[in-house]
Symmetry: D2
Subunit: 417 residues, 4 copies
């Protein structure tokens, strides 16, 4: 079995986690072959995390295929429990999960809200789905309807986006696999086997409660061990700030080396919201991936602007900045003082030092206590929220968004303290 | 334990294969931190293989750390069998394996002998080791001596480069892990446990013979299933030919988008051998990685030259060319005929069609019957070549380099046949 | 590498979980070779659990070796953090963990407190350690001292018996491995890497807190999914009651087929406490293992006593009794009523029906809120109990022993309801 | 998901290798519940191998379920390639593989041809299948027909018994998993995916050739590393000879402790062939398992016969005899001389010493060059034997049965040499 073959309509892809992934239909196959989807091969799933966990080079492409694979399992299980899912619905929900991340830009979350303001990757995904729907003559209509939660069977949307969607089940497993943080591994097989539907809601059979507890704990572990790891945050911030600085210089008239697609974003005064040039915007965005940023940053590392070149050198050579994390917001005084000292040290204006000293809030939530709770189906037919069903987890705490703040500045400042 | 930490001189890196990799000394740590080594984070270990096995995004960086890890095991085992290895030698052989691939360029083997002619990656590695030796005030002298096989204890060189070196043991394991071709997995633990030294030669204790057989078979399987997979060869050829075309156009005066480092190679009339500008050459080469090629190819996909744009579009969107494989060389007539038809079809000169229709020989060898054979240490003290010791493997065939030839051309030509 | 070799004082044992386990010293090797220890090869680690999870045939022998292996890792880590452990202490703590379960009888916990009353397996382990200490001329004195928590360095005892001892770390990993309940897998590597010592107490470095949370959750999952699985409890109860019945018949003068060792226990009026015949008792107990029970039960399945034969047939052929589980004690009325109906149904005296209808309390605790808490070492040097350090786990609930009650009776009674 | 559940006709069993095994039909479920099949829970798959690889406590029960699981995959794949298999045939071939080993006695192969002479386990399996067919009112007729290769579709038999049957695919994977000899792991998934049918023969698609090579090499490795490991042979021989001695003493009128079933075999003058008491024979045999032998051997270890007690003590306490292995038959002189010295040493008649000094031939074959060869289906439709298709393996050697001879004697004799 080769890794990727189309002969005899047998389309099977090798995956280090699931072994073999079968492409379920010709339409899905054609979507995978589309340049918009192939682009995901060039976008790292976990942004700069590979600076901390060298194995984390896996891509959005792999994740999307993995989530598609789990969706096949989930629809099989749900059907086997007596809930009707038509062939068309099964294909649509598969397409919805396959394309759920198609709007991700370079380095996934690391650059989200930074390169493009005012648009989440979900909104972008939807735009690309609409474009694909045009190309594929309306065949994605039901998938889009499910994705937007407009489709009558709500539980299909919950498989795409919810507390136990196939997105999370795949990314937790995949991210722990590739980082080597084996403790984050979840029992996706078992959780999927426990899925059920009651009154158009995705629920979990009672026997699955321990697996759900473990899933929540594993998710929390991944947050602190990986997603919000201090050095990952520090590396992300380098990336964010070097692009902010490049944008600033570009807008000021400085010509910077960049691919045309990257150039477009460096030169635009505002985000997508401005004007109605959606088509142009989406075309350029579809040309962007990790490589444009990496290739440009290496060139900018030799730029005459001391701020840009410092950020880029640090970024390329992995000379991470210091980062402090605390539960309270950092005082403006301290930040200002740091910027002043950096400006003195590097002999740059204090406004420029703001690119080298950053502070910001970050937050995570493991389980949000909103409409979309994990529901446990008791043997007697009752439905309980996991918070009631589990006597173990402090769900009220889990539900609370944890907010932390970081302060980020060049390492040489440490020696000056 | 975070992924990567330096506190208290405890330097441990997470690896999905070995769990935890310990950095054995401060010098080794500093080498890992050097920009030359960090560059390997941006070079895929298996070139375009991720077009066939989507998991194969692992990098030279990961491989070098893995080989370093195995070297630690190997020196421990050899010492435990009574052979003396000084602390200095242990560090030197560790450095030699850590840096053995530091001369790899973008996409590793996929572009070797193409971007730079007349220089293998081993020769380049040596050049960078010499540069690092200067930076580190001669501390790499013994490592270089071992790498070049000039050091008195020959078996140390064999651990770096030989039939059972730590390079192979890691890459076979790593490549099968990340491709998901689980059958290629080798028992590196067991093989290393069986290593011994006799008369300054690395040998294998007799009990390890079955592991060696399996290692050779796994290696062969990986060659055909992965390294020489038809679609991988086809993708590689796109990469090779798009760079050849870009080079041709550049030399003809066409200005192409490229990072300065890539520009340097596109504009140079010849390889490194010409002139004595080693320093300039190495500086530019150290700035190159996968991202420069990917970023440029996306731009070139819209170039007016129909050959370059076709190659780049095909490359970026994974529209692989057809490829035929056979044991005999392809006849010139057939190749010429194909080129003529391509030139007619695309309305381009027949010389240009040569970039779209390629034929070439490829070869592999699993076990080369030369000086450096795998030697089995019998319990009675005798040494046997694996070819004598194994009654199972057809070693004479294994020893023979297998040569195949491919013919590569656009897929649309298939429909014209 | 063969599975088990003594040549050249290289003593290495293959283990499916850890790969290779090295026997650290000649004394340890000799203890492993002793018949008392070899007996553990014939005692299933998880009693009747293999009736629910067919893979759970692993033995106390494997577990003891695994715990020994982890002890080697733990002492290495603790030493590397600057805490002194002498060679003699390292060997002693290794022996203590190796022998900690040597007093287990047939089917481990399934028959504990049933075959022998008034003696826990820990007390028996200690008795056998004393016997071995005599044979080995006092060389086990320090190991015994550590086991009994009489040794000055208390943290050594905590490695043998405590919240995070090597016993638990191995059995959770091993039991989840062999049952196939992959979600129970814990990151023993990471936990061990986080161990530290402060003021003679085993503590966990702050960074390990998420691993500890996951360990507690995994432990809880294993309790409900495996250790207290209803069908396992039901199978255990068959075993307990068939032995009770056989004991009753034996004491009444009935000659039952049994090996001499089993005969000894069937015929003794009371447990070990009676008389001072410790030597005789221990000699017979050392001859007992799973096989004596299994072999006898097959014979008893054809006995004329209808109660014994029903219990044994059900046991041998895995025709499990019904079991109900609830949080409150079952009412005497219901139990009596059931016994009456069983006596009518089978035409046996109602006293005999008590062997076929049982009710009992069971309890588990995951984390006991006593002296020996898991202590977290903050970076600032403070020590926190996990209950304070974790904002996630409901430790007060974890600390509470959960008590449940079961009611167990023949399945045919269900049809009569 | 509990390990083993029948609710809602969902019958799923946990397996450490495949995760979840689904019981495909009610008939299959009822067969699994039958005492004949449950007996396999008490028979180790690999006899005394657990004396070398402590993890090898897996049973015939687990193996039979595993092979059943793979059969489901194989029939799915073959159907997906356009070959018709009716539902009835699919169930029949599943039953055939489930029951293929039901005739195994205590310690599987270790005691085969020793306890019962003149009957292989396959013949016994067939007898029990016939008995079950009677109980199940003829529902096993087609399964038996397939098992005996009397059924019209021959490839179904080949799935049960052939070069690539589900038996081998499971046992190689399972035995390497539980021994921890990871190198023996085969890619059963990939091999099954490559199975095809041509002219009523099971064949392998051309792309699978490397997997087949690896399968053959892995099988060979398992033979030498596990199945014919010297210490395993030595332990097996203890078992064989202690039973021979007990048989001899029993026939001589000595009353030995034994369960009635074991007693039956100890007292019978000849094997099954004698007389026509098949029913009695099969009834007793069905009552036998590992426990009867283990329990008795412990008692016999204290018997007054010095030969029996020595054998049993050695067996129980794992004091293995010395064993020599060579390609040529051992000379009678040497054997006689050894026996004489043993008789002197132990002061026993020289005839008795024959139980303590044994010599015998053993043979293995990895690939037998007979009717049933592995056939490769080329893309052009041609069929090649693997020997022609693979240029790598020395198939003529693989085909040759390797015959070795061992000489086995008490270890104390070594010191006397």
């Amino acid at each position: 079995m080769s890794g990727y073959s189309r002969t005899n309509k047998q389309k099977i892809i090798n995956d280090p986690i699931y072994g073999f992934i079968k492409v379920p239909s010709d339409l899905v196959f054609d979507l995978i072959e589309h340049p918009y989807f192939q682009r995901l091969r060039r976008i790292r799933q976990l942004g700069m995390t590979y600076y901390v966990y060298p194995g984390a080079n896996h891509t959005r492409f792999q994740h999307a295929l993995g989530a598609m694979h789990l969706m096949g399992q989930a629809t099989d299980i749900i059907r086997s429990k007596g809930h009707h899912i038509t062939e068309e619905e099964a294909e649509a929900v598969t397409i919805a999960i396959l394309l759920h991340d198609i709007g991700h830009g370079p380095f996934s979350h690391s650059l989200e809200h930074s390169l493009i303001k005012g648009l989440s990757h979900e909104e972008l995904s939807l735009m690309y789905m609409e474009l694909l729907n045009d190309s594929f003559k309306g065949k994605l209509a039901m998938a889009i309807s499910i994705f937007r939660n407009h489709y009558s069977k709500r539980f299909l949307h919950q498989l795409v986006s919810g507390q136990l969607d196939m997105d999370r089940l795949d990314y937790l497993k995949r991210d722990s696999f590739f980082t080597g943080v084996t403790e984050g591994v979840i029992g996706s097989d078992r959780i999927i086997k426990m899925l059920n539907v009651l009154e158009d809601n995705l629920v979990v059979d009672e026997k699955g409660i321990y697996s759900i507890e473990k899933f929540l704990i594993a998710r929390r572990l991944m947050f602190w061990q990986v997603y919000l790891h201090k050095s990952v945050l520090s590396a992300d911030q380098l990336l964010v700030n070097l692009l902010r600085r490049a944008h600033y210089l570009s807008l000021g008239g400085e010509a910077l080396f960049a691919s045309p697609a990257l150039q477009f974003f460096l030169n635009s005064h505002a985000g997508y919201s401005q004007g109605g040039q959606q088509a142009v915007f989406l075309e350029h965005f579809a040309d962007l991936d990790d490589s444009d940023i990496l290739s440009a940053a290496k060139v900018w590392a030799k730029h005459t602007d001391p701020v840009l070149s410092l950020l880029c050198r640090s970024f390329i050579n992995r000379e991470l900045f210091a980062i402090e994390l605390q539960n309270e917001i950092f005082q403006e005084d301290r930040i200002d003082e740091l910027r002043k000292r950096v400006s003195l040290q590097l002999n740059i204006p204090v406004e420029d030092a703001a690119y080298l000293v950053s502070s910001q809030g970050i937050s995570n939530y493991i389980y949000t206590d909103l409409d979309d709770r994990i529901k446990i189906l008791k043997k007697d037919g009752r439905i309980l929220d996991i918070a009631e069903a589990s006597d173990m987890l402090n769900i009220s705490l889990l539900s609370k968004t944890i907010r932390k703040y970081f302060l980020w500045y060049p390492k040489f400042m440490k020696d000056l303290f």
